[in-house]
Each structure stands twice: as C-alpha cells, then as structure tokens.
Symmetry: C2
Subunit: 332 residues, 2 copies
C-alpha cells in the first residue's frame, strides 16, 4: 500500500495518478454525458460520468485491476480471492482474467443465478457460503492463507481506493472548469474517497457530497459525528451496492477530510432517477449507481443555474427491477 509521511491519511493524489497510468488502455475512459432534456428539468447543468459503460458495468473493475497489478510478481501467480455477490465480484474476476491468474469469488449460496453466471463467464471460480451461518470474511482469509492467494478487499484498501479514484481524475481532465459541486454514491466509501481526493487536488474549493440510501447513511452520520457510526441494521433498500454496515477505516480517514457532507435519498427517488436516466441519457443505471442523480433531481442540493458533476457508478440492474423503475417513473 502506498503511504507518505507528508499525508495525514496516507493516501495521496499521486496514488491515483499512478493508478491511472496502470489503467491506461485497459479501463474504459468513460464519457461524461449531458442531456438538454435533463438540464431543462433542474434549470442547471448535470454532467454525468458514466461508469455503467466501464468494463463489467461498474467502476469496480478499476480498483480491482489497480490492486492486482500491485501484487508482487512472485505472489500474483497464486491468484486472488474476494467476497462479493455484486460488482466487486465481476470487477475482480475480469481483472484477474487480464492478468491470467486464478480468481476465487465467495458468494452467498442464494445469490441471483445471473450474478454467479456472469462472474464465472469472466473465468472465476465461485465458492458459495451460507450467509446466515458463515462469515464471508473468515472464509476469504482462510482461503487466502491456505492457497497463498491475495485477498482483494472491496473498499478498505489504498490500492482499491486509488483505482476507483481514477473516475474522478478522468473527470477533472475531461471538464474545462470546476463544477459547483460533485455528487457521488457511498457504500463502504472507496469510490468517493478516491474521487474526492482527485477532485480536491484539481479543484480545492469544489465541494464533494456523499449520497447514500435512507437507513444506510452511515457516512453522513459519521461525518456529522466526526467518528465512525454504524447503521443500526434494520433498514432495507433496493440499492444493493451501497449496503455496507459502516464506513471503512481507511476510507473514512480520507472522507472526513475531503467531503462537504452527506445527502440521503429514498428508494422512490432512486427509481425515479433510473427512469430519468433511461429517458434522457439512454443509460442503464442500477439503483446504487443512481443515488447521486436522485439527489440532484429531488432537490437535495441547489441545482438552479449551477453545474453539478454526478458520478453514475454502475449499471448492473436486475431487469425486473429496472422495468418496475420505468413504470414508477412513468407514474410520477
């Protein structure tokens, strides 16, 4: 992991620049989308960094590739192991495939068949566990110890955070001027830690807000409290990518310094945002990927006559859930 005596949190903008070098020609330099009909809705400009168009349909490929590239050669041949039923699984599987190394993904036995099939289609081996009786972290650490494989954590890792941060670095290069604000989804906080670090390096005065689903606003509350505060575990949300129990230690150490605050959106606001992205951007955005757009569309931040950069983080939406969002959107 990169570190520096000159940084409070041990995570530096230069880590992200280095990650961008490793990802050059490997990851998709995703476009920033803009639509007149979307801008007209809010009376300002929304610029959408479109990570659904990234390999594997989400930003997770970036961090996985960057992290795997930093495993010493003599260890990398033993492969990698990760626990995830979602975007991190596909990101790690696809990145491992490019390095020609084995990937083992630990998934709950009741994960949707399509997620398992997609992960296997990237060449990974899937191992299932009973989510009610077993702890995936324990299985992952045991597997890593037994096989010599490297455990690739989903967010609390500087190599992961630096890879995800290339989303923000690219945006600073793609735009001619700083936006008035940046909105980014937040689960464990890896993406926004990287994005906010890159954004602050380029545009020190630009506020970056975390956006979370209602009931999973642990980062918003932790920022307000100045210390990590977990969720109480009782909430449910369609934003399956953003259900971390609490901020990561490494991610929060960054985010407490870089973020202006946290915004919260409901599942209905997320469904509406998915329908609007369909209609105006022609982009498939999954629930967790749509929270930042939802915050802008539902007035959680001032948008009139302002330019807001929105990170749309992924597009791996279940077809039935997506169809339901379109119907809900049409009713509003």
């Amino acid at each position: 992991m990169p570190s520096s005596a000159t940084s409070d949190n041990g995570f530096l903008p230069t880590d992200i620049v280095a990650a961008a070098g490793r990802l050059d020609g490997v990851a998709v330099r995703t476009p920033i989308l803009e639509a007149h009909l979307l801008n007209a809705r809010i009376g300002g400009r929304l610029l959408i960094k479109a990570e659904p168009l990234q390999h594997t349909g989400s930003f997770k490929f970036r961090g996985a590739y960057n992290r795997i590239s930093q495993i010493p050669d003599e260890e990398r041949g033993h492969g990698v192991v990760a626990y995830s039923s979602g975007n991190h699984a596909q990101g790690v599987a696809a990145a491992a495939r490019l390095f020609g190394i084995p990937a083992t993904i630990i998934m709950p036995a009741d994960a949707p068949a399509i997620k398992r099939a997609n992960t296997e289609a990237y060449g990974a081996t899937v191992i299932t566990y009973d989510r009610y009786r077993e702890v995936r972290e324990t299985i992952g650490e045991r597997l890593a110890a037994e096989t010599g494989a490297t455990l690739v954590r989903p967010y609390d890792d500087h190599g992961i955070m630096a890879g995800q941060g290339t989303v923000g670095l690219e945006a600073t290069q793609q735009l001619d001027a700083a936006p008035d604000a940046v909105l980014c989804c937040c689960g464990g906080g890896g993406l926004i830690a990287g994005v906010s670090t890159a954004v602050k390096a380029a545009w020190p005065d630009c506020p970056v807000y975390a956006v979370e689903p209602a009931g999973f606003d642990d980062t918003a509350r932790s920022l307000a409290a100045g210390a990590i505060v977990p969720n109480d575990g009782s909430a449910r949300s369609i934003c399956d990518a953003l259900l971390a129990a609490q901020p990561g230690n490494l991610t929060f150490a960054v985010n407490r310094q870089t973020l202006a605050g946290g915004l919260v959106v409901t599942d209905d606001e997320v469904r509406h945002a998915m329908a609007i992205a369909f209609e105006t951007l022609k982009l498939v955005v999954e629930p967790g990927g749509a929270v930042a757009l939802a915050a802008a569309l539902s007035g959680k931040i001032e948008t009139a006559d302002r330019t807001i950069l929105i990170i749309a983080s992924g597009g791996n939406a279940d077809p039935a859930l997506f169809a339901e969002a379109l119907e809900a959107g049409a009713r509003r």
Copy 2:
C-alpha cells in the same frame, strides 16, 4: 447540396469530412462500446457505435445540424420545417435551437404526447395533422413556401446523408483496423448511405450490410433487383424509426454501389437484442436502433472469430415497450 462531376452518384466522402468539421465540438463523438459478456455470446467481437448517446438520443441530430448549417445565411433566418413524429423531429428541433432559428415540426395529431413534449422542449413549434386525411409532405411544402422556411427532409438529401455519415467516419478514426463487416439499420437509407460511403473510403474491402425489419426489407429487395422496389404496405413492426415505404432516390443511388446486401430481423429478435444491450452494454437502444445488433445475435451473419462493427442508431424507446423487451429477453 454538394455535388461533383467525378462521382457517379454525386455524393462524396469529402462531403462527410466537411460535415464532420461543422459538427466538431457540436455533436457528441459517441464512444464505441464492447463487452466481454456480449463477445462471449457470439464467439467473436462486436463493436457498438453508440448513437443513443448522441444529442437528442439518436444520430438524427448530425444530419439536421449539417443540413441547417448549409442553408445560406439570408434564408436561414426564416427557419426550418420538418415532418416527423420521431427522432428526426427532435434532431431538427435541437439543431435549429443551436442556430437560434425557429423550427416548425409537423406531427400526426395522434403522436405520443411524450414525443410532442420533447420536441417542444427543444424550442420547436409543433403543428399537427390528421394522418388519415392529410399528406404531411404537402403540408410541409406549403408551409415552406408560405413562410420562406427551409424544408429539412428526413433522409433523401445529400446534406442530411453527409451529416449521418459522420457516424461512420468517426468509427473509421476510432478503430485501429477494419472490422470484418459493418451492420447498420436502414429505413429511408440516409444513415447507411453516409456510413457506407465513409467506411468504403477508409476500408474499401469491408462489406457493409443494411439491416431491416421483416416486411420492411425494401432496401434488401431493391438491392437484389437492382432497382427501387417498395414495401407492399401490409406489414407492421415495433421498429417505428425504420418504416419508410421505399428507399430514397438519392440514398439508393449511393447504397446500390456501396452495400454488400440486406439482412432482415423479426421483432422478437429485436426485443432480444434490446435486452442483451441492456444487460451487457448498459445502453438503452430503441427497436429501430437495435436491428443491427439483432442481426449479429441471431446468426444472420457469421460472427465466430470475426470482428463486426454494429451501428446502434438511437435510444428513444418507449418505457413500456422497453420493459416488455426486458421481460421477453428474460424468457429466452
């Protein structure tokens, strides 16, 4: 209209290069998308030129802007008129807005409210007609004569064809090498006339195929007959953007020289392609925009170990129809 004594059909690759110059910084240089999970389905490579990400959600903006830019200054102030209930309407409206000139769009009185609202949102005036009792071409020509506005035809116009051709020109610049074939949708034939002209200029040996919905394969049959053959008018299709009665005169004069042939797909194959684009590319593609992908996915052309460039022309899909396609896709 550009013309040249050295060209059989009066339409030249240099017309497209000139259009690209006018569209530089105005139109979106749409990305070419690729997905491992899509390639794995066909055992080859599919490269998707993503025009749903163009302004107004389809390639039509390109031709409209290029055509309007070529109206002499002293005439342009009188505005433009067009007849369309679909993508051409929005393309003309958005382009006219950029030139600050009035646009009048002639739409059937029973056109979907959302299409009218979107066209008006770009600042156009919508005039309706009774599609069972009036002829839109006649109304358009009368309006143009009365007001001095320029009639912007949907496809049979070299300025339109040159603008649409920038889709192909960009693709030849974006790819390192010629693909084994290019598949492009075909209604009146404006897009494919431009695309095929640009493709043949860069890659003379690369075959370009028109793809049409079953029952609307007038270009395929006209190519086979060596002369324009209309559809018999009895067929129906969900591909609302591709229902021209017969090839245009100017477009067919080009297409008979540039195209390798025509492929035909069913509505079910189109729905399946829309669902696959959703799942693997995270791109919203409307029925008419999905026919080329449908042809590749349904084995209308050899794809194994080959690289096929697919033009996905637009994404203005009705939400209910899109939801239905996702359900149909899930059943296959």
